[in-house]
Amino acid sequence: MSHRGRRTGSGARVLRAPAPAKGTIVKALRGADAVAEAMRQVNPGVVAAYPITPQTDVVERFSEFVADGEVGTEFVTVESEHSAMSACIGAAAAGCRVMTATSANGLALMWEMLYIAASYRAPIVMAVANRALSGPINIHCDHSDSMGARDSGWIQIYSSTVEEVYDNVIQAVRIGESKDVRLPVMVMFDGFIISHLLERVRVLPDKKVQSFIGPPRPVYSLLDIDHPLTYGPLDLFDYYFEHKRQQVDAMEYAEKAITDVGKEYGQVSGRLYGYYEAHELDDAEVAVVALGSTASTIKGLIPEIRDERIKGGLLKVRLFRPFPTRDVVRRLSATKAVAVLDRSASFGADGGPLYLEVSNALGRAGAKTKVTNYIYGLGGRDISHEHIMRVYQDLTRMARGRLKPGTRYLGVRE
């Protein structure tokens, strides 16, 4: 039986997507260009950013749009990422639609302000070109930067292709600004692997994007002098806890907003988005869970894995925050063994961040699935076809009780 071309049970994508919008143009874009292109179409009120490899191309390209008068954006060139995020927060408090982009150490320098943006409920959209955090200094891809920010209160979306980055940036505007959500959104794309990869992107007409996102709908504005308000007052033991509880609630509302926006975007673009994408999971005995570009690589390898007579599937997680716990349980609890691929290490923890989420979800649901962890690709180390084949082969052994689950390292020299 041939498995090629079969794609069953693929999350929200099982819904038949309508035809793409009229006027859609296919362009050859790199990931960084796709982000800049989406930003141009969104035409935000303020962009404050500082360049850092591999995000540089995003702001470079966007600054050209500003210089050429293609956007009406106030582009603030700041002296650091800490200032970039501070300026973004100020602009969002004023009621502006705000966007920015960063990578690795730039994100680390924003740390303090990330939490403040989320706690002020500022719906800022930030593209993050994933790069390894120093040290030692490294400019290539891994997820240590954004994974470290997973508890900062931002919504986190991971993209696997150039087109997905474009789509996610546009959707992020709507998700963050949704009523009852009002949270900042990070859109992740793998540094160099996606940011500098040239792919075909079906770019929507500018008008379609504008009508999809609509005008900014600020709840409050600092510039509204008829209704004076205070941002950032002292919030002690008597109120802080309540405000944090509100943030938990906002993430719960985000779950619905993400689904609704993904569906609506499907109506506009012909490309439906859900929390995850499932490939060959319906009859899968073993499965791999992955984020970002690696998920695309695995997707391409699934037919080969099936040819090896391995009943293997893939769960590509799109949202890391809020995490699709229910979907993970629903799609994976029938499998015998699951491998979770992490592109970042959580030193001293019982595995990588994605593994901890998946294993917790399945464990709490009482699933008998064996869950194992692979750390891979740190600092841009390649993940090869052989690595992925080995993971599936390990999984089949694990399913038969011939290999114990644990944390293993793909591609590290012993």
Binding site: S119, L229, P233, Y240, E242, H243, E255
Partner: protein, 172 residues
């Protein structure tokens, strides 16, 4: 979906609370609650209506009931659903209703025999807690006084002493 679930969960919570609430109300029984400072000084009064929750944390407010106006003491603060998001203060001038007096460990006591009404304390007080009437110091607003002691430090006549609250005698 999420919202429906939330409402359902809230209803269940409200029901389980109901039993406890009735008991508490019975005890409180619409009695007039008089809040006094440690010094025995009457600072605020508030009547608890029948059926009204004693604690606002997560409690469902009866429809049409207005948010407690004026001063809010500890334990009567609104729950997380009832406050503006993001820690914002959307109403100007609400410092007046926010009790900072609970931070105090020592309170200023004025010796009116020594006081010359120079009003240095009034000028220096960072909280506007010195009560003045017709150009004369009449007392301390203990709802706002944090007990910082600046007034006592600045008083040229040493008419203000920072003392254990149980020994203060001034009128609020």
């Amino acid at each position: 979906m999420a919202r429906k679930k939330e409402t359902a969960a809230r209803k269940t919570r409200a029901q389980t609370r109901k039993g406890r609430k009735t008991e508490r109300v019975k005890r409180a029984g619409g009695a007039k609650k008089v809040r006094t400072s440690a010094a025995g000084v009457k600072t605020s009064t508030r009547t608890r209506k029948k059926g009204e929750a004693t604690s606002a944390i997560g409690a469902k407010r009866p429809a049409g009931r207005k948010r407690a106006k004026g001063r809010q003491a500890g334990g009567e603060k609104p729950g997380w659903r009832d406050i503006p998001r993001g820690g914002l203060i959307v109403k100007a001038g609400n410092a007046e209703t926010y009790e900072t007096g609970s931070w105090r460990t020592k309170a200023p006591a004025i010796d009116f025999d020594r006081c010359t009404n120079c009003l240095f304390c009034w000028i220096w007080c960072p909280d506007g807690a010195i009560q003045v009437k017709d150009g004369k110091v009449v007392g301390i607003d203990l709802f706002h006084c944090k007990g910082c002691g600046i007034c006592a430090h600045e008083c040229p006549k040493e008419a203000i002493a920072m003392v254990d609250e149980r020994r203060t005698t001034h009128v609020a």
